[in-house]
Each structure stands twice: as structure tokens, then as C-alpha cells.
Symmetry: C2
Subunit: 726 residues, 2 copies
């Protein structure tokens, strides 16, 4: 999007989520999520359930779990031990998804689509693991994965007072800057003290700040992945649809000191699975919701930001398809990105459809009016919080004004499409940022974040020049489109050439394909850059100063204002509704609860479970169509398979992008499923929860075990999963 | 695009062109073409050829042919008889392309992609003629085509003085309206007098007006069409590429009184074909060029109109692909439109790439500066023409200001996507327009145009409700995106529902699927509409008044100003350069000349001809990929085919969209080829001609005859073509 329509991966396929620093554009496009709260009432005008009905809503903090709701609705008693066990068995995967430790030997279960970036990087034109799948027969066959790490949340500390103290008495923009600086200081100090990876999480969009510390594991190996054709059965056609038949699972393994990691906590595998109506939990990392955005903020999303993202994604999709059409190898190079773009496009179209439903929007406005009336009725609240909504509206006006140039240069950093552009942008900023004290740097260059930054920068993952040229050309065209070709930034970027000629010059002339050259420039700083003569570096440099200026303006006029105002609204919400309020999603660990449950769509009743037999039936119905061919492993095994094995199921859990790979856990804490998608009706979940038709979609644990045993003969892994049971 | 991203078919595949009244959006998006002229100098800074080199440029009027150039460059003497014979053998096809009469029994040759709309309408889920091809073994097997007519240009008359007299002494907007009225009056009078179909053509964008009268034939039958897989071999991938291997031909037949039409003129089939370097002619109907647009007009295209069209086409492409993914039958329903959209998308991306080349743009500005300097140097010229460039710039400002709402409602008429929306819009306007005298109506409702309008309105071509719903939903979403969801037009259009729900309500509730109902409403006028209760009609009515107001504003502030100013620029150009100037393309008959000629692309030398053998080689190289499978008829015939038969060739002819289906004619006036495409380098031809790398692409007449005889056993047609030779 923006400067770089082709490279945007707002969200990878399914429910994976990219972390903010990889996805600065995401922040730019829909600047701030609102604070979260119980929103059943919001959808009451459109959903079948009356407003007073209890719903399985919420992405709950482990520090403020829905103990009361669970006791009342399901008679379930939640213990601190249960919570700690689940917390320390859950993992966050750096490609943007969730996962869980499922054996005493550090075996990690996640989605195929969460690991597909990694699987793609392990593939070559000769050995395509995405297409053919992978199965390490012995421990020694497991493959070291590039550029991926896995985090386990270890400690949580409320640092709200410390952060707010840093901004005491300052004006809005200065307060925002001071708080950002405080966040880096707290993270650096924590890391120095504990050695754990530290992140301060902004909750309720400024209402609270929590310090999360993680055990981070960087030696991750690939153990098992099915063929993409069964992992992503039905492809883009069936994505976000149900019934489904996807084996969207991959097993990785955490290694420490060259050996399988022996964890303190891991989930055991359920022997019997789950049944219709049964209570279950999802522990994962929902990426981002915007449920408590004000109406003016939603208007900005509806009329400006979301349609722009949607359109840009469609452009990327077309450009990637054109590139893919050139040959089978072109297709292989682009397919991971194409899947991501198609997935995000579905997400955005779904969101926009929801935002354009007048009933939903009017309900939103009515709910806001009620909250504001309650605030205005109390003079103390009115004085403290009353102006917040107008502040948000002003911030949206500022966002509108700054939007085109800000997106055109790539939002918070120069973005030129492709991996090489991203490498060049990082190197240029490193030279300026590293000499400063950690807390004075741009947030993403703080000491705590540097190891992950270097992991990406020095990645040995393959880069293809033809693919890079296409992406850079598209980015330059998009920049011209946003600003007009006579704009000084465009004139500087094109340097008198056509977009195609300029892209070829910069990519073919750059040495950044070479990892040693990246290291030389990153370590050499400003001096090394001065004489490097790299045309791609020069292109980034020609845009970097205006990009920084736009970022500062955006932070001061939009983000800081929203931070202050949403902090007030969160406080107002606590005051009016009490503390039974969960924050919007932040790609940190949350607990959702719900039940396995089918649904009714129009006249059609959709049962919760599918079975192995269903996929063979579908394959014969759609014979010869792209996406519907089964892999040979399945057609060969068909005769001996148990066709009644449960394969996928739906449930009422409140999840969103980032939850991909989350374990579904029964009341005993055992694995009964693996979240991999939501249905199309769930996409409005970005703005409001509903259980009328919205459902989470999981692979059934019995389908996973069944395919390991009946299709793949993966005895070692199956035994490890079962063995982990006692 | 605009209100209706999914339905826009700016240009069908290849070089076909849709007539202005079908394609009002086209006019809106890039309002006026500039007057044409020799532009060799323009590209002299970027092309390999020096500015003084003669080039095979020009889309020449039959009333002002390039006799001098042909005599000097090729020693060819052009006679009035030769011209008349070619003129009366050429045809214009109402689906938006060209063709020629190639037998004494009214056989018409055109492209498969020009006839594909018709072939699609003759297809059903059971009998897919696009996929399987069609071959009428006997005359009695020829299929009556719905909704198509064919025109032969019969007389040409200069009516410039008459048109200008109507505007004498009036201000700009009034003058524009008076001229439009005069055009209708002249057409109606001509039709009443001769019975021929009459159109006044605006040449040089207001510099001249010519009355063209056509013999129109409405009983057209399908004789032969190959399988789409060989007609469009390589699909979207290879579209606008070369070397190519496409049998992009279809034979139709004109009938009169139920019998094959015996024409006064027809082209004979060449026995020997054409050779490298040989002179040849193309007689066809180039749709539209914008070569003499001013720089300010091109800036509007580059920064606003073309990227908007490009993006909207990409959106349409994605929406159509999503729809197509649902099943094979969905794919069949959408495929014609998908091809058209993909083709237009390639055209627009190519154009934008050209517009973003600073070298081309600077050359354009320099050329304009030279012309203006020459005008300013002559006081009389300065007084008469000097303000024209500023007028055009003002018109672009007006176009920018009005653009979003104007496009959102569908430009010159309400456009809601899909056939049903178009039917409803026509019926609503008919009720208002028909009671007025012909010349007082909106131009497209003048008496002369009504028969074609009714042919479309009462077409028995199938309409699919699910496809219509998808298109209407997309149109409503796009409207909200352009205007914001709270805009009064959007609120009126959605009527409190989501785009999906509103689309379902309007399409499923409408009776316009029924042709009798269309007739009842069209004939019943305002009274019939008042009580019809049709929700789609009501939707159109809610938008019609603002759409009319926007159209009037657009005509007054943009089109009339451009008409006046481009008239001055054309006069200035004649004054400065003399009368060796051809007008920009207007989808009327033009003559191009040139030579069969390969070209060099980067380091690669591309020879002019391909052969039958090449397609088999390519099919084996790209085995299993979409677009590269040969039809069974070809693989079966392979053993006995002459693999050295010439298949496709490239030449330097100056053509553009609309020329699709044009015959390539040798100096003796015999058919040696069939234009079906230009290469990607030719797309800049919208703004300037170049022969450095730009080439026209044709099917060789020997490839057509060879496939009829060697592959299809189409003896009757082959004999008719050969028999037509004596």
C-alpha cells in the first residue's frame, strides 16, 4: 500500500498477524485501535441474539481473566495454576502468529500458514517444500529455520504509573514523545536486569501500560509440514468460508544449545477430542481490534483508510498474478506474498462491508451517545473526559491531511516494496539512530528490539531480483499516483527515469543481495554509507528526511492526540461500566472462551464438525479446478483411512488475525484443536463481536493425529504427542 | 471504475473498442482527445530514430489519404478507385471492432475477441461455444447472432460550416450545447433523406465535423470460430506480447432478406501472403487517441484519470476472479467480462508507464512550447488561438473538481454495474427524453441512434442474477468509497441497507429480466414507471436527477471548453504545419500504411513471423500451465500439419484499440493478414506514435487458411475464400 502496493502484507493468510515494526504501514492505515469493552449491545440491533443475552465475548488479559463469566455461564472454576500452565505453554511466533508447546521435547504446534514464510525460505526451485510438504523421519532430519523466533510470555508487570509520570504536566505532543521514550527506557532496563526480551504493551490505547517479558528462542527447526494443497485446501476461494477441510498445521521444534528444549510447561494431547456444545479455551495472540474506536475514527476508516487499503491490496494482487503468470518459477517466488495479499484483501473487503452496513454504524453511534451522556451527566467526569471525542475527531482530520504523502513515502519508514528496499531503509536509519542513546532513538531501534532487527537484516533467505524490480516499479508508480508525478518527492525518486528503468537501475546496481555488504554498511554507519555508491541506498536517502518529518508530524498530530484522548475514554469507560472490560487486541497473549457450535446462515444449518470423508467428496465435486486437487499422499491413503475422523470444527471463540496457530484447549487443559481461521461473518470482529453467525475455525486434534498416522506414517511425531500425555 | 468498478469494459480484449454511447465512462475518464498530427518529433528524444526520419505514422482519413508519403516512401500510387474499394469492403462491428467483407456471399472476417461477446451469448452451460469453438458445416448451420450489427461506410460529407453556424456568437457553454443539438439535427435529416445510418464525427476535437453515412446490417450469423484456447493462446499472460501464436479469427456472414448478402465490394484472399519488409495497409476503426492533448490535459490523465481507471480495473479484475472461483459455471458467466477487464488493465498500465516516463513528458512539453511560440510570434494567430492552452488547463481544473461525484453516479448516465442496471437506466431516461423533439434530447437518444439503443435494450442475451448482484454490490461500495458513506447520494442509494442486502433486494425484486416487461416500461413511459414498483428502477430514479445535473455541469465546464479550445489549437496547427495532419482516432474508418518488420527489444532481435510449429513448441515448454494447453483439434492434427505455415506477424502500422479485426491488405488490395493486437511497446500510441519497438500484431492469412484446411477441415469456408479470388 502507499508507496509500495505490492509488498504490503497487512496480514498473512488466515489469522496470522505481522508485528508492528514489520508492519509500520498497518499503523499508518488505521492509526490507533480503540479501547475494548463488552460490545454485545452494539450488535443487538442486527444480530439474532437479544442485547441481554450473554455472549462468549472477549480477548481477556491473563492478569484480568473472565473468572466470573466462566463460573456463571459454564460453572468453570479458573485457578492461578491453570492460568500459569496455559500461559507458559503458549508461544508467539515471529512470523505473526500463535502456537503452543505440545511435548516435553519442545515440539511446537502452529499453523502451516504461520510457518509458510519459513517453509518458503527453505524451498528452492528444485525442492519445493510448500508444494510437497516435509516430514523429518528422525530428529537429525529436522531443518534449521531462518529468520524466525518464538516467544513465551514469562512475567507481566503494570508500569502505568511510571509511564504516565514521564509525561506529567506536558502538552499533548510532548507528552506523547516523553511516553514513547519512557517505554524504551523501561524495556532496556528490564532486559538488562533479567536478560528476557521486554516489551511495554499499551493497553486500552493509552489507559494502561504493562511490561511483558518473554523467553525468546531463536533456534527453531522444521519437523513436519503437510502439502500446501491440503493445508490450504480450497485456497483463496474457501478462505474464511465454512465448512472447511484444511490440515493447516505445522510442527516446529525449539532447540537450546543444539538440543531439543525441555520446557517447564507444555500442553498434553487430548485422547477423545471435543464435542458439540463443549466449553473450550483459546490462548493466543490476537493482533489488533478497533472495537472502541469513536464514530469519527470509524468514519475515517470507512471513508478513507479501509477502502484505500482494500484497493491497494487488489492492485498488489493483480501485479503479483501478472508476475506469477510468467512461469512456474515466477509463481513459486511470488506465491507466499500472493496468499498473504489475497487473505488481507478478503479481510479488508469483509471489514468494509461491515462498516458500510448502516445498521451497524448507527448502533455504534448510539452506543457512543450513551457513554457520552453518562460522562456529561457527571461534572467531574465531564471535566476530565468530556473533550476526548472531539480530540479524536481532530486527530482524524490531521490524519486525512497528512495521509497521501505519509503513505506515499511508506509511513513510518521509507518503504519501496520488496526485501531489498526494506534492507536499505533499515541500514540508512541505523546509521542515524545507533549513535544516539537507546531511549532517544526511534522506538524500533531501541536496544531491546535490536536483536530481532538484525536477524531480519542479515537473513540468508533468498532474494530474487526480477521480483524486487517488479515491486519497486509498482511502489514508484503508486507514489506518483498519490502525489502526482511533478511532486518533488516523485521527481527525486524517479531521477529522470521511468519507474521501470529506475527500478532496474536501483535493484541491479545494488550490492545488498550480499549479506556481508549489508553487515559492512550496517556496522560502518554513516561513514560507510557516504562512499558506498549503492543506488538503492541513495534512493532511500533521497526520501528519508521527508519521511522522518512526516512521521514526526503524524506522531505529534495524530498518535499523541489519540493516545491522550483514548486514555480518557478508557478511564470514562471504567468509571461508567466498571473494570469488567478487556482491552483491544495488541498481539499479546489473551484468553478467549467459548463453545463448539454450528450456526445458521440464511436458511442453511451448518453443523460444527467436518470429517475426512468430506474432503474426498468435495475433491470429486470440483475435479480439475485450481485449489481442489488433493495431494497424492491423501488419494493413496484413501482406502485405509477412517473417513469419519473429525477434521475441522467451528466455535464461538472471540479471535482475530494473530490468533492463527492458537491451541484450542478443553477444561482439563488438553489440546483439542488448532485455530486457523474465522468465517467471513467474523471479519466484522475488528469492530465488534457477534456470535450470531461469526465463528472461529479450527483443525480438530483428532484430524491432526489421524492424518499423521493414517496419511503420513509420521510415527515419531504421533508417539511424541501421545507420549507427552502422561 | 467509478460507480461501477466491476462492469466497466473500457476496451475489450486486444484492440476492440466500445462505441461512445456504450462507454460513456470512457469519455468521462479522459474527457477529450486532442487533435492529431505528425508526432515523430515528439518521440525523437527517446526513440532510436532521429526526428527527421520518416515513420509509418498516421491514422488517415479516406478523404485526406497519405498519397504524398506513400509515393515518396514506397513508390505506391493511390487511386480513388482503390480507396473506394477498400472503404466499401471494410466494416465496423457494433461490439467495438473492425472487420472486412471477404467473399461475394457477404462473409465477414473479424477477430475472435471482437465476436466473443456474441459467441458467449450463443453459449449455455451445456454448449460452450467459446470453449469448444463453432463450425457451420452448411449454410443452414449458421447461427443468428443476437445484439450485433455491422456498418459499411458509404458516404462522407464535410458539415463543419453548418455546425459552426449554429454556435455563431454564443458563449462557450451555449455554443457547445448548440453544436450538440446541430449534430442531432443533421443526423436526423440525413437519415430521413437517405435511410442510411448517419453519424456526425467530430474531428480534430472540434476542428472539423464530417457526416458519415453507413449501410447498416442487422442480420448477422456466426459461421466459424476456433476454440478460445487457440484464439487467445497464452491468455492474459501473452496479451500485448510478441512472438505470438493466436488464431484470433471469427467468420460471420451478413444476411439480407434471409439470404447471404451479395456485396458491391469485397476483398479477395491473397494466394501468396506477405513477406518481410513488404508494404501493406490497414483499413479499420481505431477507437481513440489523445496525441494532441495539451500538457495540462496529459497531467490530468497522468495524475488523476489514468491511475484511477487502472486501479478501478484492478478492483474489477479481483472481484471477477473471486466470482469465477466459485464454480466452473460462475467462471463461464464472468469470463468474457474478465478478459475485457484484464485487457483494459494492461492497456492502462501501459499508458501510465508511458505517461510516467519523464523523457516522454518533457518532449511533449517542449513540442507544445514550440507550437505556442509560433502562435505567439504571429499577432493574428495569437489573438485567435493564444488563450486555448489556458482554457484547456481550466477545463482540467473543472474536471478534477467534479470528478468524484460524476464518476460515482456513473458519469453521463446512472451506472450501477451489470446489464440490469444499464437497462433500468436506459428505461428511466427514455421516459424523460422521448417526449422531446429529437434534437432537444440527450445526444444518445436522438432518432438516428434509437434503433441500436432498442436492439441493446430488448436483447435476449442471458442475464444471471448472482452475477448482477455481485456487480451492483461492488458499484454501491465504490460509490460509498468515492463520496463517503454519509453523502446524501450514498444514503439514498443504500436506503438503510448494506451494499450486499441492497443489491439483493434490487436485483431479486426487479422484473427487468423479462424482455416483455422492459418493452412495457419503455413504451409506457412515465406513466408506466410511476406504478411499476420495480426496486431497481426506483434506485436509478433516486440518482437520476443529480446524475443529469452533473452531466450538464461536465458538458458546460469541461467538454464545451475543450471543444472550443481544441478547435483553436487544431486551427493553429493547420496554420503552423499545413494540412498534412491526421485527426486523433474517433472509431471511424482510417487508413494506416506500413511494412512487415521485426524489431529489437533490449538485446533480443524479434523476427516478424511465427509459424505453426512454434505453438507446439511453446505448449510443450509450458505444459500444465493455464492458457498454454492446445485444443484437441490442434493436437490431433499435429502429425499432418505443415509446421512451417506462417501464423502471426508484426508490422509498423499505426493502430490502436478499435482496429481489432482490421484486414491487412497488400498493394493489390488482397487480404494478407488480420490485425488482432499491438505489442506492449505500442500502448504509448495513445499519446504518440513510435516505430522504434512498437508493432501491430496480425494473424497471417496463410495461418488462417492453413488452420481452416489442416485443422478444422472447413472446406466450405476455405473454398469460399479462395473462390472469392477471381
Amino acid at each position: 500500500m502507499g508507496g509500495a502496493p505490492v509488498v504490503l502484507r497487512l496480514e498473512p493468510r488466515g489469522l496470522a498477524y505481522h508485528s508492528p515494526y514489520d508492519q509500520t504501514m498497518l499503523k499508518a492505515l488505521a492509526p490507533l485501535a480503540g479501547s475494548g469493552a463488552l460490545l454485545a449491545a452494539l450488535l443487538s440491533t442486527t444480530s439474532a441474539a437479544p442485547a441481554v443475552d450473554p455472549v462468549d465475548e472477549g480477548m481477556w488479559l491473563f492478569t484480568n481473566p473472565p473468572a466470573k463469566e466462566l463460573a456463571e455461564r459454564y460453572g468453570f472454576e479458573m485457578t492461578p495454576e491453570w492460568l500459569e500452565h496455559v500461559q507458559k505453554s503458549a508461544v508467539r511466533v515471529s512470523t505473526g502468529g500463535s502456537g503452543s508447546i505440545v511435548s516435553d521435547q519442545g515440539l511446537v504446534m502452529t499453523n502451516h500458514h504461520v510457518a509458510s514464510d519459513v517453509i518458503e525460505k527453505l524451498s528452492t526451485a528444485e525442492s519445493n517444500l510448500l508444494e510437497n510438504g516435509f516430514h523429518a523421519v528422525g530428529l537429525e532430519d529436522e531443518l534449521v529455520c531462518p529468520d524466525v523466533h518464538v516467544d513465551v510470555l514469562w512475567t507481566i508487570e503494570d508500569v502505568t504509573a511510571k509511564v504516565n509520570a514521564a509525561a506529567d504536566g506536558l502538552g499533548t505532543a510532548e507528552a506523547g514523545a516523553a511516553k514513547r521514550k519512557a517505554l524504551t527506557e523501561i524495556e532496556d532496563a528490564a532486559k538488562a536486569e533479567t536478560g528476557l526480551h521486554a516489551e511495554v504493551v499499551t493497553l486500552y490505547q493509552g489507559g494502561q501500560y504493562h511490561l511483558y517479558q518473554y523467553k525468546r528462542f531463536e533456534d527453531i527447526r522444521l519437523v513436519f509440514a503437510p502439502e500446501k494443497s491440503i493445508a490450504f485446501y480450497g485456497g483463496d476461494n474457501d478462505n474464511f468460508e465454512y465448512p472447511r477441510f484444511c490440515l493447516d498445521v505445522t510442527f516446529l521444534r525449539i532447540y537450546e544449545d543444539g538440543k531439543p528444549f525441555v520446557p517447564e510447561h507444555h500442553l498434553t494431547w487430548s485422547q477423545d477430542g471435543v464435542s458439540d456444545g463443549e466449553l473450550a479455551f483459546v490462548a493466543g495472540h490476537p493482533g489488533r481490534t478497533q472495537r472502541l474506536n469513536t464514530a469519527s475514527h470509524l468514519e475515517y476508516l470507512r471513508d478513507t483508510s479501509v477502502p484505500d487499503s482494500m484497493t491497494s491490496l487488489m492492485r498488489s494482487e493483480v501485479m503479483l498474478q501478472i508476475f506469477s503468470g510468467k512461469s512456474a518459477e515466477h509463481r513459486r517466488r511470488a506465491e507466499g506474498m500472493l496468499f498473504g495479499v489475497q487473505n488481507s484483501r478478503k479481510v479488508y473487503v469483509g471489514r468494509q462491508s461491515g462498516l458500510l452496513d448502516p445498521a451497524i454504524f448507527e448502533a455504534k453511534r448510539a452506543e457512543e451517545a450513551r457513554l457520552r451522556a453518562a460522562v456529561d451527566a457527571n461534572p467531574e467526569w465531564k471535566a476530565a473526559y468530556g473533550d476526548a471525542w472531539d480530540q479524536i475527531a481532530q486527530a482524524q482530520d490531521a490524519a486525512r491531511e497528512i495521509r497521501e504523502p505519509y503513505i506515499a513515502v511508506g509511513a513510518s519508514t521509507v518503504s519501496l516494496g520488496g526485501q531489498m528496499g526494506s534492507i536499505a531503509a533499515t541500514i540508512v536509519r541505523l546509521a542515524d539512530e545507533l549513535p544516539k542513546p537507546s531511549a532517544e532513538r526511534l522506538r524500533e531501534f531501541g536496544d531491546a528490539g535490536l536483536p530481532a532487527l538484525y536477524q531480519g537484516l542479515y537473513s540468508p533467505a533468498p532474494i530474487y531480483q526480477d521480483f524486487e524490480i517488479m515491486q519497486l516499479e509498482s511502489a514508484l508508480m503508486a507514489m506518483a499516483e498519490r502525489l502526482g508525478a511533478d511532486h518533488e518527492l516523485v521527481v527525486a525518486a524517479l531521477a529522470g527515469k521511468s519507474p521501470r528503468a529506475r527500478a532496474e537501475e536501483c535493484i541491479l546496481g545494488s550490492k545488498l543481495m550480499d549479506i556481508d555488504e549489508r553487515k559492512r554498511l550496517a556496522e560502518g554507519g554513516a561513514d560507510a554509507l557516504k562512499d558506498c555508491g549503492d543506488p538503492l541506498i541513495a534512493l532511500v536517502q533521497s526520501l528519508d528526511a521527508p519521511a522522518r518529518a512526516l512521521r514526526i508530524r503524524y506522531e505529534n498530530e495524530v498518535r499523541s492526540v489519540e493516545n491522550e484522548a483514548y486514555g480518557k475514554i478508557a478511564a470514562a469507560r471504567f468509571a461508567v461500566f466498571g473494570d469488567g472490560v478487556y482491552p483491544d487486541a495488541t498481539f499479546t497473549l489473551r484468553l478467549s472462551y467459548g463453545a463448539i457450535s454450528g450456526y445458521t446462515q440464511g436458511d442453511e444449518t451448518i453443523p460444527p464438525f467436518t470429517e475426512f470423508g468430506g474432503v474426498f467428496k468435495k475433491a470429486s465435486e470440483r475435479e480439475g479446478e485450481e485449489w481442489y486437487d488433493l495431494p497424492e499422499s491423501w488419494t493413496k491413503a484413501a482406502e485405509t483411512m477412517d473417513m469419519s475422523t473429525p477434521f475441522n470444527f467451528v466455535s464461538t471463540h472471540d479471535i482475530i488475525g494473530g490468533n492463527s496457530g492458537s491451541p484450542v484447549i478443553d477444561a482439563e487443559g488438553e489440546v483439542v484443536g488448532l485455530i486457523f481461521d474465522g468465517n467471513i461473518q467474523s471479519l466484522i470482529g475488528n469492530y465488534a463481536y457477534s456470535d450470531a453467525e461469526a465463528r472461529s475455525v479450527s483443525v480438530d486434534s483428532r484430524g491432526i493425529m489421524g492424518s499423521l498416522e493414517q496419511v503420513y506414517g509420521a510415527k515419531r511425531i504421533a508417539a511424541e504427542l501421545r507420549g507427552s500425555k502422561d
